[in-house]
């Protein structure tokens, strides 16, 4: 604020007044629902998750193997040339430990989330997922991890068909 201005507008509402219902409010809940089309590449990706496989797309021009797969290469701006599979193993690029839920409320058991660079994809190509079977204090950058899949009969073609990624022991593939 400029020192030339002495008064500044705005009437603060006290949280206590809000909770006590002393502030007139008009309430509304939107009812709209959505059905997002997954598109050609991601539809295949989801179908392949049912088979326990992770689909990637290939651009021969830049040489990238991309996860998640896409129908066009956003760098070369041309259709991708092929689809392939990458491994369900990889390494932790970065991670975080969440103690809160989507509505900012506390959760009992923290969730470990990570960006996982998958083996077989181009360097730096990661996906977001959870880490399990390890205490959060033990997680390390660069740690080798492997997908833990739901049993085939429980898979529905969703990213959650992978329950989480678990740490691999030394020498384990």
């Amino acid at each position: 604020m400029s020192e030339k201005i002495k008064e500044y507008p705005g009437h603060r509402i006290k949280t206590a007044d809000l909770r006590a219902g002393l502030v007139p409010l008009i309430r509304y809940k939107p009812e709209a629902k959505f059905a997002f089309s997954a598109g050609a590449a991601m539809s295949r990706f989801l179908e392949e998750l049912k088979n326990g496989r992770i689909l990637a797309s290939v651009c021969k021009k830049c040489g990238r193997i991309m996860v998640p797969p896409r129908t066009f290469c956003e760098i070369c701006f041309k259709p991708v040339d092929d689809y392939t599979y990458v491994k369900d193993t990889g390494k932790i690029n970065t991670y975080s430990v969440s103690f809160i839920a989507a509505d900012a409320s506390r959760v009992k058991e923290p969730t470990i989330v990570a960006v996982i660079e998958l083996d077989g994809a181009s360097p730096g190509m990661g996906i977001l997922h959870k880490i399990g079977e390890i205490d959060w204090k033990e997680v390390k950058f660069g740690m080798r991890v492997k997908a833990v899949w739901k049993p085939p009969e429980q898979r529905e073609g969703a990213i959650t068909d992978i329950k989480y990624f678990k740490p691999l022991k030394e020498g384990e593939e």
Partner: protein, 390 residues
């Protein structure tokens, strides 16, 4: 670039409302309050304004679809050329950039630039509105939250450079302290590094005091072409460089330790302003700080220091108001508050006041002639940069 900036554009007035968790005013009323103040400062009436640019973040916060249109009359846009811009958290600095091209192009001699956010309409918490920004196939089924992704970025940044949380916490301490001198500030506080480190852990490494609050508020600037500005004021503040840049939403496909897209935006703005050596030539900067680590991350992206060097400069006091490179003398988003678009615009207003020598207790010690404001947003992919000179 030579084709741009045929006309020099000045900021000749600025205004803002209080930033608070809940304000009674409607979004329209907030816009009007700040716009009226900015016009009064510029010595103009609404009839003198030829075009209006509105900046406001997702409709999902205010809960009014077509929010730009809804806010138009409060922004003084009735029966005038008007547009809304929206680039996520980058909106606040992109709005005056859009205003700049309105005037620089020769289309208009004056332009009112309005930024507004009323996040308190969204219940039970504005975080709910953020959920729909994520990929519905890859991310939402996992229960992703906004703090997750910033925590992932922060952690990667810390890991690559070996930065400690104590070093990052100093940013929160500095900015909340600076905000004590800002009359509109929502969270001015005198805190210590220990307070930050002992605050509630939300998503490690993000703790409660690492984060800016959600807020209601509006901020406005008046832009004018050179010949108009010189008639109205003896000390216009010139917009000499603008830059903006986006990367893809595939944020898991790039290394999060460095915001390359911010660097691209900064290079564009520096080139336009003829700046060769940013740390030497920028006297004061308002960089986007919704989280404390973002101030450091952005100082590096803006090339105000080398990669990984920002924590040390902060420790040495270089970024304090009396330092060689004052960063966020306003108190930033961490201290003043974070009504998304209005927060970025507040930074532009702060640079305006700093370069005019009107910032009062917040005035930086050095003789500030060149300033920078920057904002950042979307899925860790967008940067907007503005360079101003007195």
């Amino acid at each position: 670039m030579e084709m741009f900036g045929k006309r020099r554009v000045a900021v000749i007035g600025a205004g803002m409302t209080l930033f608070r968790r809940n304000l009674k005013e409607t979004g329209k009323e907030l816009c009007w309050e700040a716009a009226k103040m900015a016009l009064d400062q510029a010595g103009l009436e609404l009839k003198d304004i030829e075009a209006v640019v509105m900046g406001t973040a997702p409709d999902a916060f205010d809960g009014v679809h077509m929010k730009g249109e809804y806010l138009a009359d409060g922004a003084g846009a009735r029966k005038k050329p008007y547009m809304r811009v929206f680039v996520g958290g980058g909106t606040g600095v992109f709005t005056p950039i859009a205003g700049w091209w309105h005037v620089a192009s020769g289309m208009f001699d004056t332009c009112l630039v309005v930024a507004e956010e009323k996040m308190s309409s969204c219940f039970p918490h504005p975080a709910y509105a953020f959920h729909t920004i994520f990929d519905p196939i890859m991310a939402r089924p996992l229960g992703v939250t906004l703090i997750w992704i910033f925590a992932l970025e922060m952690h990667r940044y810390m890991h690559v450079h070996g930065i400690k949380k104590e070093q990052i916490a100093r940013v929160a301490v500095k900015n909340k302290q600076n905000a004590l001198d800002h009359p509109c500030a929502q969270l001015p506080q005198k805190i210590t590094v220990e307070d930050v480190l002992n605050s509630e852990v939300l998503c490690w490494p993000v703790q409660r005091l690492d984060i800016s609050p959600t807020s209601d508020g509006a901020a406005v600037a008046v832009l004018a072409a050179e010949h108009v500005a010189k008639q109205l004021t003896d000390n216009p503040v010139w917009i000499d460089g603008v830059g903006w840049c986006i990367d893809s939403t595939y944020w898991t496909n790039r290394d999060l330790y460095y915001p390359k897209y911010v660097e691209c935006a900064a290079r564009m703005a520096y080139k336009m302003a003829g700046i060769k050596n940013p740390p030497k030539e920028i006297d004061v900067a308002e960089v986007y700080d919704p989280f404390d680590y973002k101030e450091l991350h952005h100082m590096e992206g803006l090339m105000l220091c080398r990669k990984g060097e920002a924590p040390r400069l902060t420790e040495e006091g270089v970024t304090q108001r009396d330092g060689d490179l004052p960063i966020n003398p306003s108190g930033g988003l961490l201290g003043v508050g974070n009504p998304i678009a209005a927060a970025g615009m507040m930074k532009v207003c702060e640079i305006f006041w700093q370069l005019r020598g009107e910032a009062g207790k917040r005035q930086v010690k050095k003789d500030a002639r060149t300033g920078l404001a920057q904002a950042w947003g979307d899925l860790m992919q967008y940067g907007s940069v503005i360079i101003m000179r007195s």
